[in-house]
Symmetry: D2
Subunit: 177 residues, 4 copies
Amino acid sequence: MSTSNSPSSFPVVIINTGGTFNKRYQPLTGLLTVANDERTIEELLHSASPNLDMHLIGLIHKDSLDMTQSDRALICASIRNSLPAFNSAPVIIIHGTDTMHETALFLDEENLNRVIVITGAMRPAEIDPVEASLHLGLTLGFAAANPPPGIYIAMHGRVLPYAEYRKNRTLGVFQTT
Amino acid sequence: MSTSNSPSSFPVVIINTGGTFNKRYQPLTGLLTVANDERTIEELLHSASPNLDMHLIGLIHKDSLDMTQSDRALICASIRNSLPAFNSAPVIIIHGTDTMHETALFLDEENLNRVIVITGAMRPAEIDPVEASLHLGLTLGFAAANPPPGIYIAMHGRVLPYAEYRKNRTLGVFQTT
Amino acid sequence: MSTSNSPSSFPVVIINTGGTFNKRYQPLTGLLTVANDERTIEELLHSASPNLDMHLIGLIHKDSLDMTQSDRALICASIRNSLPAFNSAPVIIIHGTDTMHETALFLDEENLNRVIVITGAMRPAEIDPVEASLHLGLTLGFAAANPPPGIYIAMHGRVLPYAEYRKNRTLGVFQTT
Amino acid sequence: MSTSNSPSSFPVVIINTGGTFNKRYQPLTGLLTVANDERTIEELLHSASPNLDMHLIGLIHKDSLDMTQSDRALICASIRNSLPAFNSAPVIIIHGTDTMHETALFLDEENLNRVIVITGAMRPAEIDPVEASLHLGLTLGFAAANPPPGIYIAMHGRVLPYAEYRKNRTLGVFQTT
């Protein structure tokens, strides 16, 4: 038909840091804990995977309330040290919702000059795969539009620069500031 | 924190034309048929709805193989006749996968000068809510980046101008042309 | 066809005491808590409800580790005080798995002379509706066979007199003693 | 505690003949077809499998409207030729709902002198795992009560001798006759 301007797959770095998105129920203990693997993301992206050239990195695997500045430095280092094939690819970070803003601020000060989209979920993907999938879709759709470098948050139907979008902890919904 | 540049909700027109995305099983007949309502979209977007100013229009409700040029004219008219509050909002069209390209071509020739993102699903949302949610997320994320006017297809992890992205019917996957 | 020997619906008392079966995720707190309602049971039994004459009683709504002897006395009283129409109907008790045996023992000493089937789940129905539904099915199928009065446990594919079937806490599976 | 009267696992023959229970969506054709495997049953019984000594036999794999008398003879032969370890075990047959009664009648005339419980689903397990799981639970719970030999139907909350329980095709619900 036409000669495509687009490569046959879309390069993207996905950094999984854990958060509620990745929590799974442990029947022996009765606890919901952050899984120490990338299985949830792989399963949710199954239908998209033929078109993604995905560099999936698992790091930290914590509830975001437990995330430290050295954890954030590790995220930053993993972005800076992307494989050469991915060094201009958009970066998607799966993260707990409570401290997304702190991580965004940390990354902003590092002047990474990359498209970085942070997402997560209010409910574990194991319980609510719809919310989690919508959020992964938001990040990929936003990145597909080739936006200017910056740190963005993708949650609850919108993707905005991190400084304009925050979690309302009373309502459990992200809102514009 | 900062004074937001973004309105408190995101205006979007969603036109539901049916397709596999909206098929539901009818236990009395044993058939999967396109539902004549917008319930699937409303349920999948439940978590996003507090942030969306959504004008949801139900039209046609067909399998896309049965869609005619007059159906396409109806889609076009419903875009042109958007409520004033939505006349520059992005337009998301839920559509069967087999004739997305024909509808895109039809709309392209109408010079609507709008951001129009067509999506759908290979499997009914009733069976695979993850694929359907990813695709709705793709459309909203793409629209959030304020892309140039045009007709786009959002499927299987990517959003591209319609002329560059087509369904491979042998594999059941959208691919770059 | 034939003259039926069976009434047009099956009378059953269902006592919901809570337990993991009824836990739901609370996104504002990040906790899984026992729901204070009967919605989970009603939803899971939706397809069976035309054939059940169900007297559904909500009591206690606790994690079974927190259940006291006075809670057990309350279960017992609610069985003794069944509505007249249900005073010979089988009794199904939804209960946390950790103290099913203690509740069974308590009820056994009360000489209720009823068919009492205790069930529950290792994973919340919200996360694993299949295990929860299998267990509800076990209880209804067992009761349908008109077994002798007694206290039974229905879990993990089997229904047995409570003294012969216990939770193996290391494996998270009920096993014969 | 007590010396168990029950063996450590429950022997059961499960004959999968197909039916709506086993239908899966084929995205390339848009059709729901009866899967030619036992995967659905294996997945739904996962949590019960440690306690079941299950002899799972796949046969026929048809929509029940297409089932012939020679298919029924095949079911009968597979019951008669059970492995010795299973020759007094209860038999569960997964079957399409439209001709359960015809199969029950056929088996009844064969004087098999076994507990045979026929089940199925009004909606494919892929779409509604709750109904399918309830029905598997019904069969296992009924068999656990050691009922007299006979041909039973387990659907929609009840298990009854086949002559007393039939599908109401207008309502899509099994009812007493």
